[in-house]
Symmetry: D2
Subunit: 138 residues, 4 copies
C-alpha cells in the first residue's frame, strides 16, 4: 500500500515543486507535510491557501486510496475547505481521514495544522468527495 | 485598482512559483492564467487540482478586492470546488466573479477553463466566501 | 419527462408538508416555489434556511433527473449553499440548473430568489453534486 | 443559555412544523432530533435531505450561539453537507459542534445520525460557517 501511494505521489510534479512530502500512511489516513519557504506564501508571508488546499486535497485523495483495491484509481470529485487562521509556522501538516468509504464514492475529512516551535494549531478544515475509477492499474 | 491588485499578486510567492499571471482585472471580476508545465501536474500529467484551486482562490479573492475601498484587505473564509473534467491543455484560466458584495462578507463564483488549441472547456466550478478586513493598508 | 418528475415530487412527503410546488421543468432546469407561511419560517419570521435548502436541493435533483434515461434514479451526493440575504417575500423560488452532466455524476448550480411585490432578489446560491443510480425503474 | 436557545428554537415555525426538538445543549454543542413521520420523507420513504439539512443547520447555529454573549444573534453564512447513506430509522439526530469560534465567524462540524432499533448510523456530515451579529438582543 505504502509503495503504491509513494510512487503515485512521486509522479505529481506539483507536490515536488512545492516541496511537500508524505509523512504518514495508514489505513484510511494519510499525512502530508509542507515546510515553510517563500515559494509557498501569499502576500503577507503566510502559507498560501492554495498550497494548504493542494496538500489537503492530496492527503484526502491518498487516504481514500489506501482502502481501494490495487487495480483502481482515485479522483477528487469536489472539496470544501475553511481557512480558520493565518497559517504561520515551520511546517504545515495536512491530515486526510476517510469518514465513509463506499463502492463508488468516498468522503474524507481534511484537517491542516501549522506547526510552530513544536506546537500544532488547526488552520484549515474541510470535507472532500472522491470517486473510485476501476481498471486503470496506473 | 489594477496596480493595487498587481502589487499584491506580485507579493504572493506561490503564484510566481507556479508561473501564474493576472490576465484580466475588471470591477468584480479577475482572470488568472496558469500555463502548462511539469511543475503543476498531478500523477497523470494533467493540471493538479491543487494548482487549479490555488488560481481559482486567488481569482475570487482579487475579484472581491476590486470592489473594496483602498484601506482594506481580503481573506478567504472558505471555498468549495468541483473538479468537472481532467484539466488538459496549454493553459488553464481561472475566472473569479463577485455574486454578492456585502459590507463584511463577499461571495464569488469560481470557474476554471482549460484552453487547448484555442478552445475553452470548463474543468472546475466553485463558490467562495471572503471577508473584508479593515484598516490594514498593507 | 414532466410526468415522471411530477410523480416523484408528489411522493415526497416533505415537499407537500412545506407547501412547495414545481413551477417549471425544462431540459437541465427545474424551478420549485414555496409560498410564505408561518410553518416555513425561522425565529425572525424570514424563510428558514432549512426550507430554502430543501427546495434548492430538490430543484437541483430534478434538474439532473431531466437528463437521465427512464430506468434510473438520482441521489444527492452533497451540496454547498450560501445564504446571501434574509429571505423575505411572498414566495421563494429555487432554480436548479445542470452545469455538467456526466455518466455517473452530475453537478448543478443552485439559486434561490425571494419574490416580493413582483421583484426577484437572489437570497441563496449553491452548488450540488448528484449521482445517477441505474436500474430502479421506480 | 439553555433558555435563550430554547426560546429562539420555539420561535422557528419550521422546526415545530417538522416535529423537531432540542435533545441536548452544551457549550459549543447542540443536538436536535427529528422523529420519523410521512411529512419529512422523500420519494422512497427515507428522511428527506432537506429535513436532514434543516436540523443540521439549526444544530450548528445553536452550537455557535451557546458561545456568544447575550446581546447577539447568529446567522448561517453557508454550509456544505454530504449525504452518506439513506436515512432510515425511528429518528434522526443532528449534532452541531463548534470547531473554531472567532470574534466574527464561527465554524461548526455537522453530523447527522439515523437511529434504528437503538443503533446509530452516520448518514450525513457537513461543515458550516456562521456570523455573529451584535446588538439585536432579539
Amino acid at each position: 500500500m505504502c509503495k503504491r501511494i509513494q510512487d503515485s505521489f512521486d509522479r505529481q510534479g506539483l507536490m515536488a515543486h512545492l516541496g511537500a512530502r508524505i509523512a504518514h500512511i495508514g489505513p484510511g489516513r494519510v499525512h502530508i507535510e509542507l515546510p515553510a519557504r517563500p515559494e509557498v506564501t501569499q502576500q503577507h508571508g503566510y502559507f498560501h491557501a492554495g498550497a494548504i488546499s493542494a496538500i489537503a486535497d492530496s492527503a484526502g485523495g491518498y487516504a481514500a486510496y489506501t482502502l481501494f483495491p490495487g487495480n483502481t484509481d482515485v479522483l477528487t470529485v469536489e472539496y470544501k475547505i475553511n481557512l480558520l487562521a493565518p497559517a504561520v509556522g515551520d511546517v504545515v501538516e495536512a491530515v486526510g481521514t476517510v469518514v465513509k468509504s463506499g463502492r463508488t464514492l468516498t468522503v474524507c475529512q481534511l484537517e491542516v495544522f501549522a506547526v510552530r516551535d513544536g506546537r500544532r494549531k488547526l488552520v484549515a478544515a474541510g470535507q472532500q468527495t472522491l470517486i473510485r475509477v476501476d481498471g486503470s492499474g496506473r
